[in-house]
Symmetry: C2
Subunit: 454 residues, 2 copies
């Protein structure tokens, strides 16, 4: 590590209180995109903060969308795009929060509040890191661009169009994605992409009204139709058997398998946390990691039909529905999955099973040898003095394809979260030391991506 980062680190550590106060002020805004609350106010605050950090920035929007902050500063051979979002998940269930979600509170060295981890924390940390870099290391050695959106938590519906319209202000040689977490063992992690998602309702409408169950031998039953249709999608070994779907899943490369082999995966810990004796299909070791990181999923998230109360009600239900979540790896897309699913059901006579699409996002996955990935690994190594864990994909989803695949920008993710950050859940939090470390790592990352010696 060049000596210059000693000054950078000292500068950052001296400002811990100020940095956390600044983040707390942002967390205090209840920017719940699902409820449309505090969107304009937060966008204005974020725009102002980015400008103070030196960005020439504006708030842009496309028809019907929220303000999106786009900006730029610095110059150099390389351009880095920073993607974050300023909106947060709803805070429900409120009664499970130890302190109110929009009253950020420090407890045991952690900052609790909605958005501390996902994703106001990283957004603010990165702006603070840019300022600290300029104050201690010198002028930015590359061109920095920012893209801060306000509807990530509700599906980023307008983002693809906005990126298309403003492509010239967003192109870059690499993109740092919003999120990243220390794993359960406290190791820093770097991720090379996100799974996509295709979430659908499957609904069968059978009889005109609920009927008496005594006619069950001859009158078609919506619940049975749904069960048979679902059972045709995935077999008891956990293999997805939707016609043709697995043909679109890339065969893992030697590099993929090397990444997986190097990945720690605490099988005993997983079993303990979920209270299970084993994994689907008895998978373990490399096979288990391959399934988790490099294969799609097909998950029943909900079932609903007929009588659900105590005891017995002798009813033949008129309607049955399931919520099904497919997580996607390249080269699956939500459109492709819905189309394969429709053809699969139709070919088996399940034309009575209606598909209603909900959330859909494409997967986005980048190689481990891009410059931006190498810079992220180097910066984390320099910050933590240990080799970071590299995930080929995060199992979660986000609008990475709309930005990075659309513009051809390799992406990488790391951040200030931890394994217990409780994103989307009550008592969301970050460890303050992790927050400071992310600022330290981010300064080094700028340096490394610009090609400066680490």
């Amino acid at each position: 590590m060049p000596d210059v980062f000693a000054a950078f680190d000292a500068h950052v550590r001296a400002r811990e209180r100020e940095y956390v106060d600044e983040l707390s002020a942002l967390v205090r805004l209840p920017t719940v995109s699902a409820q449309g609350s505090a969107i304009a106010e937060t966008a204005a605050a974020v725009l102002g903060r980015a400008q103070r950090a030196g960005f020439v920035a504006t708030a842009e929007r496309v028809s019907g969308g929220p303000p999106t902050i786009i900006g730029e500063q610095g110059s150099g051979d390389r351009t880095l795009l920073i993607y974050d979002h300023y909106d947060v998940q709803p805070p429900d269930p409120l009664e499970e929060w130890r302190t109110p979600p929009f009253e950020p509170t420090i407890r045991d060295g952690s900052l609790f509040g909605r958005g501390t981890s996902d994703n106001k924390g990283n957004l603010m940390a990165r702006l603070q890191a840019v300022e600290a870099y300029k104050a201690t290391v010198g002028p930015l050695p590359l061109r920095l661009r920012i893209l801060f959106e306000g509807e990530e938590e509700i599906g980023s519906e307008h983002l693809a169009e906005l990126v298309r319209v403003h492509a010239d202000r967003l192109r870059a040689d690499g993109c740092i994605w919003e999120a990243g977490y220390k794993d359960a063992a406290g190791r820093p992690t770097v991720s090379l992409g996100l799974k996509g998602i295709c979430y659908v309702d499957l609904e069968v409408r059978g009889t005109a009204l609920d009927a008496h169950s005594s006619v069950g031998g001859i009158v078609p039953n919506a619940a049975w139709r749904l069960v048979w249709a679902l059972a045709s999608l995935k077999d008891e070994s956990g293999t997805i058997i939707v016609d043709g779907l697995m043909d679109h899943v890339r065969v893992p490369s030697a590099a993929d398998l090397a990444l997986l082999r190097a990945l720690p995966f605490d099988e005993a810990g997983w079993k303990r946390i979920h209270g299970i004796d084993g994994f689907v299909g008895g998978a373990t070791g490399l096979e288990l990691k391959r399934k988790y990181f490099l294969e799609p999923t097909c998950t029943i998230c909900g079932l609903r039909s007929g009588y659900q109360g105590q005891g017995s009600k002798t009813v033949l239900p008129a309607v049955a529905s399931a919520k099904v979540d497919f997580r996607l790896v390249p080269d699956l897309t939500p459109e492709l999955v819905r189309s394969l699913l429709r053809a699969h059901l139709d070919s088996r006579g399940f034309t009575d099973v209606a598909i209603t699409p909900h959330h859909g996002e494409r997967p986005s996955r980048w190689p481990s040898d891009t410059d931006v990935a190498k810079a992220a690994v180097a910066a984390n190594r320099a910050t933590y003095g240990t080799e970071p864990v590299v995930y080929p994909l995060m199992a979660g989803s986000g609008p990475m394809a709309q930005v990075c695949d659309q513009l051809g920008i390799p992406a990488v993710g790391f951040g200030s979260g931890n394994a217990g950050s409780a994103n989307h859940a009550p008592n969301e939090n970050i460890v303050i030391a992790d927050y400071i470390d992310h600022i330290r790592a981010f300064g080094r990352f700028l340096h490394a991506f610009a090609g400066r010696p680490m």
Copy 2:
């Protein structure tokens, strides 16, 4: 028809108002066994009414059970047992009743109120018929016995023991069962038994808590386990494939098939009522009737798991459950079905699917050539001037096995209901003319079963 029934009919018709008022007083009592309301009061009223009709009767109970009225009058070579129940279903949903369930109301020639059809109407009509017979035809030509219970609507839990304890007061040569209905075309019907029922909850508990759906590729999912277990019970043609279950279903005899061939079955009307294009497995004609009357059913009455609200929630549910109703034909019993089901699930590795029994009753089916069946057909023919429709079984269930199979008493059913009587539903009703006709038919039935010329 002997002349003497002219006087009987005139006597009955002259008392229509009085008869309906007397029934209305009984319906006014809210005898909801599921809520334990008005049980003692109704039992006392029924006992008193039976005694006024000439029965030497008492209220009996076994430990924990409600009062059951047992009584006797008359003498002759033959003994007839009359089975009815004085309890009723809960009236919910109250808001769908045009007039309050326990304020019996006459509208368009029908009497509306909870219990008018199921089963206070038949209970009262039969006592009134006995009185009218004695007043106009002469002394009873047979021994009559009554068994009026108070927990039919909640599963007749204590009935088998009560019948065992009081067997000597209940033995008979034939039994007239509680219910019977004119069909949708207005034809009188006679039935020779009831299907049994085995109603169970199937529940899978998977993970300790709901998990994030991104782990769906490797963490076992209770909803998937339930779907696969259910799909192993019945195939898409509607055939029950629980190991060994269909081996216990009797092959229809030539007499059974003759009964079915003679049965009208309005396929177009069924399709219209249920809003369906066709029946399960494409069945029609004799096959359809065989399935409906002589085969068991396996019906999903309810499904519950995970998220059921609007939109998407990315959850892997910890628990999934189904309510499943098997309707039973001889020689299936609830105990046998539960045992076959457990073995079937275990042999496929579904040891994680728990079975919780609810309602269970055995089927009870009697030949068409018993004296009591022949008397019922003759009495209906004489009353209505048309051949009644004979059902080999009713698709519904009841405690017939506890009474008739236990004591070896052939049973038959006919009554005052109609195809729109709405038993167990809002706006339960009988047509007053049907009620008077049931009294007329019942007087003739006593006569015929005693061997007197019709």
